[in-house]
Symmetry: C2
Subunit: 294 residues, 2 copies
C-alpha cells in the first residue's frame, strides 16, 4: 500500500500509547495529518508542546471530524462516553479502532453506537512500559511486538488490511483473533500478572515488622520485578479488570488453586513435587527468549 | 584492613554465586589462594577450565583444610552433609560462612557441628540472575547490592568485621541482622515473589485453550517478567522454601488474603477500591528507583 495510508488520523487519548502511535505515524509518514484530543487540559497542553500532533482539539467530536482513522487510546471505562460524543461526527467509511487491553467490552460499548458505513476494528498493541503520559511515549514502542486485531465477524477485509498495515509500519507483527479468545489469552499473559504484582506490593506495604525501607533495600531478590509492573497506570488497569471481569476471575481461580497446591507441598515438605514444578517452568522462559519477546 | 584479607578461601559450591565470588576475590586480590569444590564432577571440571580457582578438590574435607575462610555456596538442603564432611578438617580460628537465602536453618544445621574456635557467620548476598552454573558467574554480580550478615549472639566481632570487609571489597553494602528477622524480610522480598512467579507460569502452562505458543507470543504484556524469575535454579529454590517454611507460609497466607480481597473487588465492580490500591503501589516503585535497586 502506498503512503500515507490515511489522510487524517484522530487519536483520542494522548498517554503512553497514543503519543507513541502519533510519533511513529509521523516518523514513518503514515498519515497526512495527526489530530489529537485528551480529556484533561494538562495532557492536551503537554502533548501540543511536545509537538507530535498536527492539530489539537478540545473534545472527541471535533477531533474525529474528517478522519479516515480514529484510534481510541483512553482507559476502557471511557469508551461509552467517547462513543456517544463522536458518533454524529464520524466520516462515512472511516475506521474506528482502539488500543485497549480487553476487546469484548469494546464491541459491547462501541458496537451499538458506530453508524453504518463506519468500520469498527478493535486492536491491541501488546506493548507498554510502567510510565504514563504524553512524555512517556516514543516511536519505537511497538517495534518487534505483537498487535492483535479483533474484527467482529463480517468486518470489511480491506479496512482490516489497511489497519494491519499501519501497525506493521509501526514495527509490529499482526495477529487476528476472536475478541473472546483475546480476552482469555491476555487474562493470563497480562491481566493476572498485573493483579498479582499489585497484590504482592500491597501485601509488602502492610507488613509492620519488615518496614517499607527494608523491602526497598532488599528488593533485588525478586520483589523489584513486581514493583515495575505494579507502577503501571492505575486508572487504565482498574478499567481492564472491570472490563475483562469474567476471564480475569477465571484465571484468578486457577492461579489460586495452583498456589494452594504449592503451599501445601511446602507445608508438607514435598521436595520432589516442588523441584519438578520449578524445572517445568524453566522451559517457558527459554521459549520466550527464542521468540525474542524477552 | 590490608589485602589479602584471607590466606586461603575455600568455596563449597561453584555455581552462579560461588563462581562470582571466586572471580571477584581474585580480581580484587582478597585472598592468597582460592580453593573450590562442587558436588558434581561436571561442575568441578567446568570450573577448573574457566580458571577462577587456584586449587580444585574432590570434596569439602580436602577443600577446607588450611582455609581461614570457608563459604558454602550450595543449596540449603546440602548444608548438614557438608557440615558433617568438613567439621574435622576446619582450621582453628577459621570463619565459616555461606550465601544461602534463609539464615535460621543455617544456624540450625551448622551450629551444632562447628567446632569451638571456629566462627560461624551466616551471610546472604542479595544478588542473582536467572542463570545457574559456573559459566553464569561474573565478578560484578555483587556490585551495588546488599549483603546481609546474621552472626549469632556472641559472635567474634573481629571475624564479623573481616567477613564484612570481604563483601565490601566485592562492591556490596553490609547489613547486620538477626537471622529470624532476615528470614521474614526475605520471605516477602524474595521467596514469595519466586513462589508466585513459579505458580503463574505453571498455571499458564496448564491452560488448554491459550496454547503455550500464544502465552509466549504475547508475554510482553507482563508475563515475561515472571518467567525470568521462574527460570531460577530449581534445587536451590526448593531448598529455600523447605528451609524457610514458617515465614514463607505466613507471607503466603497474607498474600492470599489480599488477593481474595482484590478478587472480590473485581467481582463486585468496586472501581474506587482498585484505583486506590493501584495508586498506592506506585509509590514503592519510586522508592526502589531512588534507592538505586531498580
Amino acid at each position: 500500500m502506498s503512503k500515507p495510508l490515511f489522510q487524517r488520523v484522530a487519536l483520542i487519548g494522548l498517554g503512553l500509547i497514543g503519543s507513541s502511535l502519533a510519533r511513529v505515524i509521523r516518523r514513518e509518514g503514515l498519515a497526512g495529518h495527526v489530530a489529537g484530543t485528551a480529556r484533561s487540559q494538562k495532557t492536551r497542553d503537554r502533548a501540543w508542546e511536545l509537538g507530535f500532533l498536527d492539530s489539537l482539539h478540545p473534545d472527541p467530536a471535533a477531533c474525529v471530524a474528517g478522519a479516515d482513522l480514529v484510534v481510541i487510546c483512553a482507559p476502557l471505562g471511557a469508551y461509552a462516553e467517547i462513543g456517544a460524543a463522536m458518533r454524529e461526527h464520524l466520516a462515512h467509511g472511516a475506521i474506528v479502532s482502539d488500543v485497549g487491553s480487553a476487546k469484548q467490552s469494546v464491541i459491547r460499548d462501541l458496537g451499538p453506537v458506530i453508524p453504518d458505513g463506519v468500520h469498527l476494528i478493535p486492536g491491541h498493541p501488546v506493548a507498554g512500559t510502567e510510565h504514563s503520559g504524553p512524555e512517556a511515549g516514543f516511536p519505537e514502542l511497538f517495534q518487534g511486538r505483537w498487535c492483535i486485531l479483533t474484527p467482529p465477524p463480517g468486518s470489511d477485509e480491506a479496512a482490516v488490511a489497511k489497519l494491519a498495515e499501519l501497525w506493521r509500519c509501526a514495527g509490529s507483527q499482526i495477529e487476528i483473533m476472536e475478541a473472546g479468545h483475546h480476552d482469555r489469552v491476555l487474562a493470563i499473559t497480562s491481566h493476572l500478572p498485573h493483579i498479582i504484582a499489585y497484590t504482592i506490593v500491597s501485601t509488602a506495604t502492610d507488613l509492620a515488622d519488615a518496614t517499607q525501607s527494608e523491602v526497598i533495600k532488599f528488593s533485588a531478590g525478586g520483589f523489584r520485578d513486581f514493583t515495575r509492573i505494579a507502577a503501571s497506570d492505575p486508572v487504565m488497569w482498574r478499567d481492564v479488570f472491570l472490563n475483562n471481569r469474567e476471564a480475569v476471575l477465571e484465571m484468578l481461580g486457577r492461579f489460586s488453586e495452583d498456589l494452594t497446591a504449592l503451599q501445601r507441598a511446602i507445608r508438607w515438605g514435598e521436595g520432589d513435587k516442588l523441584q519438578d514444578l520449578f524445572t517445568r517452568t524453566r522451559e517457558i522462559r527459554r521459549g520466550i527468549i527464542d521468540a525474542k519477546q524477552a
